[in-house]
Each structure stands twice: as structure tokens, then as C-alpha cells.
Amino acid sequence: MLRYLLRRGFMALLVALTVSVAAFVLLNVAVDPAMAIAGEDADLLLVEQIREQYGFDRPIYVQYFEWLTRLFHGDFGESYYWNKPVGELILSHAPVTLQLALMAIFVTVVISIPLGTLAALKQNSLIDRIALSTAVSAQAIPNFWLGLMMIILFSVTWQIFPVSGDDTFAHFILPSFVLGASSVPAVMRLTRNGLLDVLSSDYIRTARSKGFGGIRLLLQHAMRNALLPVVSVLAVQLGQKLGGSVITESIFAINGLGRLALESILGGDIPTVQMLVFVFALTFVIMTLLADLLNAWLDPRLRLG
């Protein structure tokens, strides 16, 4: 287990470093940061001045290593647009996004696991068909449109939930449903297919032949194995939601990391955008690492692989 842990940890570190290089190069080559600060129609002389002042005229690898060294010293850079340290910005916006992401994953779990289980237990029945066609249609719904429909229905027509903002718990209900719904098709399919595989395996037949059955068979024997891949997918989805709630946050005017990202892009604030890309990627890497370790802990066969 320790060897596995070390190997996976080293890989994660390597991936995080590579991703930071990729993000840095992409945002400094495809985008001219001096131009982004100066604005679209700025004087060329001013752009040159900014380029020298901020050091964008130096070779890219020098800039990267300076960025990385600062990062290791806990200096996340300075935002041109917000006139604040980027680290402070990210820290102040993170809790809202964390709450939203956790609630969204909760929504996903509550909808997709029972639905997937029912669909697998009653394969080819009406429930199974409803579940599968819900998954197919849910995949085709534009997420931001679903959000707007929810606002029209639940905030304007019936006035159950507030339209936008992030002050109270009630503000988070619609956004977390919208964000969580986007993962339902994938997780539901995975639950259903995993459970179908397990239910047709030999050890379940053996357990049945010994007279063991019903809900206890399902929970104690079948679900434990069927949910292994679901756990890792959920961790990955959580990683994505922590970085991918840009749309949901902008629709519901939630002042989290996604909205910070959108406004920083529109404001031409490359240092903030760059750090956000890196932080999101790092979150994702850590979540996948945790998912792998969790799976290796739950399933000893994986540790050898």
C-alpha cells in the first residue's frame, strides 16, 4: 500500500507541475498579457511600457520559474483588475464554491444512486426505461438553460426560492440542483451497469443459493462492489464542480470562484485567471489521487496493478 501511495503521489505531483507549465505557456503565448492589461485599443507605446514594467519581455521560461518560485513562497501574485493579492481573492471566494459543489454532489448522489439501483434491480422494466430516457434527455439539456427555467418556475411563478444571491441556505438549493443534475446521467448509468454486472456474478448466485437474499444481499454484498467505480467518479465530479461552476454561479449571481474567473477574464486579468486555472487543475489532481487511494483501500486488487 505504501509503495502504491508513493507511486501515485509522485505521479500526481508530476501531473500538477506539467499542467502548471501548460497553463502558463498557453496563457502567455496565445494571449498577450500586456495587451490584456492595456486594453484592446491601447497605444502601442503604452503596451511596450507595460511589457517592460511587468517583465513580460523576458523569455517565457524565466517568467515561469519566477512564477513557480513565488508560488512556493506562498505568493500567488497581484491582480491588476481587482488590485488585491490573488491569494486573498481566491481564499475569500472559495467557501461559497465549496458549499455549492458539496451540495451539488449530494444532489447527484440522492438522485442517481437510488434511480440507478432501481433500474438495475428491475432491468428492462418501466422504471428502467424511464431512468434511461431521463439520462439521455438530461444529457441534452443546456445547463444554463435549465438554471433559467428553474428561476422562471420556482422563483418567479411559484416564488418558493430566491432568484439569485448567496446569503442564505435557500439561495443554494436551485443552483446546487442545477449543478448536480449535470452529473446525474453519468453516475446513474454507472450505478446501473455496475450493479447489473455484480448481480450476475458467481458470488451473488452463491449467496442466493444459500438462501441469502433481499435488501441485505443488496446492501451487504452487491452494493459494496458495485459502488466502487461510482465512488471514484463522484470524487472526480466533485473536482470538476469545484472548478466548473462558472455558468451556475453566473446565472444565480453566486459570488464564488467561478464568478471570480468569469469577471477576471472579462477584465483582462491574466494573473488571476492563470492562478485559478492552476488551482482548479490542482484540485482536480488531488481529488483523482484521493479517489484512487480510496479505491485501493477498498479494493486490495487495485494495489497490485
Binding site: 505521479m11 501531473v15 500538477a16 506539467t18 499542467v19 501548460a22 497553463a23 498557453l26 496563457l27 496565445a30 494571449v31 498577450d32 490584456a36 439521455v136 434527455s137 444529457q139 441534452a140 439539456i141 443546456p142 445547463n143 444554463f144 438553460w145 433559467l148 427555467m149 428561476i151 422562471i152 418567479v156 448509468r189 451497469n193 447489473l196 470538476q240 472548478g243 466548473g244 462558472v246 455558468i247 453566473s250 474567473a261 468569469l262 477574464i265 472579462l266 483582462g268 485567471v273 485559478l276 486555472v277 482548479f280 487543475a281 482536480f284 489532481v285 483523482t288
Partner: protein
């Protein structure tokens, strides 16, 4: 002992066999296609929308850009106050909504198919290399895949499109370049299986070059799987474009894009919800049809892989 006369030339002794007409693979495929409702529905809708997109000027009753401010926010024909002149009503600038919707088909289809094609070239070429060569090449490409998966896709797409300058081609390029992992995973594992086939060994033994084997032996056998992924990626790219345009980072006004129409309709959403409902429903129908077609092609070409 009675001798029974054996009928030698009487009724001929025939084995009563069921007349099994051997179906060719092609006939079998056509039979499966005909039996697959989702595929037929999806395919029909897509073909219909492609025709609407290509011949948009003929279908659109009005100019999609013409603003008549005196005819602002006319509701659709089925709600009170609607007129048959503007079947889906008009938007906040008095532009005919149906015409804008029809022209918007072009944007969605162009970006969907364009971006999925860009991704196809990147993903499939990397996937085949990884699967066919294996070893170090495979390790390197799998590592690139892991890194790509960790990058926040939507945020990077938004950033690059915004700073490079939003236009149809930039949106196609950026979505395509950032979205090829699915192609890679599928073509890699398929190429790994095909590599072990006898006909590959045969091609090697008569001295075919690696490039020839990849192009003439492996690629044709991957086609059906690639088409399935392509179709599903078209749906993804359409949704990605609409999300970008909705956030104001993709297609710019006054070009009619469905995502942008939703963003513009959002302003008047509370008293004229149809402005938001209609383009969203159009997106839903297009993407649903695309996905149905993709799922259908998968079921029809590889029925054993159905889950």
C-alpha cells in the same frame, strides 16, 4: 417376414429444412437500422435541421438582423397578443425570432461539426499511435491524456476564446483543440486490440510500412467507433458553444446564436419567458437528436457492446 417396398423413385426423400436465407452483413445492418427508433428519429431531425440551416434564407420569413423598434417583444402566435406575421414573436430589438432561430441553426451546426472534426484529428491520431506502437509512446500519450483531463476545460476555453478574439473559427478551433480525450481513449484501446489480429501480422510480413498499416488496416476498422464518438462530441461542442455565447464570450451580437439569444432574452425573461424557452428548446432538440443518433449508431454497429 413382410417386405416393404421401399419407394425408390416415388416421393423423394427431402429433409424438411427451414428456409434460412443467409443475410449479408449489410442486409443485417439495414435490418437493425430499421428496427432502431432512436436512430431513425435522431437522423431525421438532424437531416431536417441541416437542410433548414443550409437553406436558411428560403425558410426564414424575415431578415434576422432587421430591427423594427415599434414591433418589440411581440409574443409568439399561441399566446395572447401574438400575430401570424411573427410566428415566434420578436425580441427586444424587434427582430423576428423565428428567422433568428433558423439562422442560428447554421452557427450551432457549423461549430458542432467543425469542433468535433478538429478534436477527431488530434484524438484519433494520438490514440492510434498509442495503441499501435505501445511501450514508451503509449506511456507518453497516456501521460498527456492525464494532464489534459486535469485542466479545467470550460475555463480554459473561455479564456482562450476571449483573449484570441471571439469569432466562429476561433470558437471551433479552441473547443476542438481542448476536446479530444474521448477519441483518444476509444481509438487507443481499439487499436490495441486490432494490433494483435492476424491480418496485421500478415500485412507486416509482406512488408507494409507502419504508415500503410495504420491508414489501410487499422483506421478502416476503427471507423464505426470513431463515428459514434464524433456524433456525441458534436452534441458536446454545440452545448459548449451555446454556454460560451450565453456568457458573452463566444459568438458576438448581432449574429444569431442560440446561446446568445438566450442571454439576450434573459433581460426580458420575467415578462416574456418564451424568449428564453424557445432557443433553449431548440438546443435541446438538436443535441438530443445528435445523441440519439450517436447511441443508435453504436447499438447498430456493435450490438454486443450495448449496455
Amino acid at each position: 417376414m413382410s417386405s416393404t417396398e421401399l419407394p425408390i423413385s416415388g416421393t423423394p426423400l427431402t429433409l424438411e429444412t427451414e428456409t434460412v436465407t443467409e443475410l449479408t452483413p449489410r442486409q443485417l445492418l439495414i435490418r437493425r437500422i430499421k428496427g432502431h427508433k432512436g436512430l431513425i428519429i435522431g437522423f431525421t431531425v438532424i437531416i431536417g435541421l441541416i437542410i433548414v440551416g443550409i437553406f436558411a434564407p428560403m425558410f426564414a420569413p424575415h431578415d434576422p438582423y432587421e430591427q423594427i423598434l415599434s414591433k418589440r417583444l411581440i409574443p409568439p402566435v399561441w399566446s395572447p397578443g401574438g400575430t401570424t406575421e411573427y410566428l415566434l414573436g420578436t425580441d427586444h430589438l424587434g427582430r423576428d425570432y423565428l428567422s433568428r432561430l433558423i439562422y442560428g441553426t447554421r452557427i450551432s451546426l457549423m461549430i458542432g461539426y467543425g469542433a468535433a472534426t478538429v478534436g477527431l484529428f488530434i484524438g484519433v491520431s494520438m490514440g492510434i499511435c498509442a495503441g499501435y506502437f505501445g511501450g514508451r509512446v503509449d506511456q507518453l500519450i497516456s501521460y498527456i491524456l492525464t494532464c489534459q483531463l486535469s485542466l479545467p476545460g470550460l475555463l480554459l476555453t473561455m479564456t482562450l476564446v476571449f483573449f484570441i478574439g471571439p469569432s466562429v473559427y476561433v470558437v471551433i478551433g479552441v473547443i476542438g483543440v481542448l476536446h479530444w480525450t474521448y477519441y483518444l481513449v476509444v481509438s487507443r484501446s481499439a487499436a490495441m486490440q486490432i494490433r494483435q489480429m492476424d491480418y496485421i501480422a500478415a500485412a507486416k510480413s509482406i512488408g507494409c510500412s507502419k504508415f500503410h498499416i495504420i491508414r489501410k488496416e487499422i483506421l478502416p476498422n476503427l471507423m464505426s467507433q470513431i463515428i459514434v464518438i464524433f456524433t456525441l462530441e458534436v452534441g458536446f461542442a454545440i452545448l459548449a458553444e451555446s454556454a460560451l455565447s450565453f456568457l458573452g464570450i463566444g459568438i458576438q451580437a448581432p449574429t444569431p446564436s442560440w446561446g446568445l439569444m438566450i442571454a439576450e432574452g434573459k433581460v426580458a425573461m420575467f415578462f416574456q419567458p418564451w424568449l428564453v424557452i424557445i432557443p433553449g428548446a431548440a438546443l435541446f432538440v438538436l443535441v438530443l437528436a445528435t445523441n440519439l443518433m450517436g447511441d443508435g449508431i453504436r447499438d447498430v454497429t456493435a450490438p454486443e457492446n450495448r449496455n
